[in-house]
């Protein structure tokens, strides 16, 4: 039962991931990415990480993807033509390099197999994660909050239009 569910969800996430990188229009990629994130959330539930599954849906499939959808809609994009332009040779070279990395990853992971513990139902609860997060990982938690603050300030300063020089210029042009 669990194995069947895993295979179905795994195929769903792999298919969604392949669709993300092969779609022509970015909005389709965004929607398939949401599907991939949801299937990963289901896998988190199967792994006993209920809180992380909720956060996966709220933060990734919710907040981050809303940001993506917003930007895609705002930029008024046409369909990407990059696949035709880069040519088949470069594309297959890219996939071959990725396959090489896959071999490296598999080789690296082979040394860490063989762990098999019973599923602890109390491990992924808010209580157990919170006691670790606000105990041993208190300092990284605070640093993460500072990082988010820095990101907010950075984003605002990045996308702020440089309006004052332009408006001064046009006004000056009209006056003279």
């Amino acid at each position: 039962m669990e194995a069947i569910l895993f295979i179905v969800i795994a195929l769903m996430s792999i298919g969604a991931a392949i669709m993300v990188i092969t779609q022509r229009s970015p909005i389709n990629s965004v929607l398939y990415l949401v599907l991939a994130f949801f299937s990963l959330a289901i896998l988190y539930v199967m792994l006993g990480a209920q809180l992380l599954a909720a956060f996966q849906v709220i933060v990734y499939a919710g907040a981050i993807m809303v940001l993506f959808v917003f930007v895609v809609m705002m930029l008024n994009l046409s369909k990407a033509q990059d696949w035709e332009r880069i040519g088949a040779i470069r594309r297959w070279l890219g996939f071959a390099a990725a396959a090489g990395v896959f071999l490296i990853v598999v080789t690296a992971l082979r040394g860490s197999l063989g762990y098999n513990a019973e599923l602890d139902p109390n491990m992924g609860t808010i209580e157990s994660i919170g006691s670790v997060l606000f105990g041993r990982y208190m300092l990284p938690f605070e640093v993460a909050s500072v990082l988010l603050l820095v990101a907010i300030v950075g984003v605002v300063s990045l996308v702020k239009r440089e309006e004052p020089p332009k408006s001064v210029e046009t006004k000056g042009g009209e006056a003279s």
Partner: protein, 101 residues
């Protein structure tokens, strides 16, 4: 047939490599960015899988930090993409090569 650690590690390796293939083959900066998100999620899946099978709660706490960093990264990255689009009028990363050489 029980689901073991190997299954999850294999799935996360496959997802990571699909994301890497997207980064290497696509030239649209938005899709490259989404592929990076996919790679981050594959790493998260590895963390959670090890956290369940070791068993050790620290892996799940690390996923929280990865999510916080990913949120910050997405916000800053999309701001950069919007700025690129305003300046260049396109999202093709081959046209953004000022700092390449």
């Amino acid at each position: 047939m029980t689901v073991t650690l190997e299954w999850y590690l294999g799935l996360s390796a496959i997802l990571f490599v699909i994301g890497l293939g997207g980064v290497l083959t696509r030239r649209n900066v938005l899709i490259i960015f989404m592929s990076i998100e996919l790679m981050l999620n594959a790493a998260n899946l590895t963390f959670v899988a090890f956290s369940r099978y070791l068993p050790n709660i620290d892996g799940q706490v690390f996923v929280f930090f990865v999510m916080a960093v990913a949120a910050a990264e997405v916000a800053v990255g999309l701001a950069i993409i919007v700025t690129i689009y305003r300046r260049k009028g396109s999202l093709d990363i081959d046209q953004v090569n000022l700092m390449k050489w």
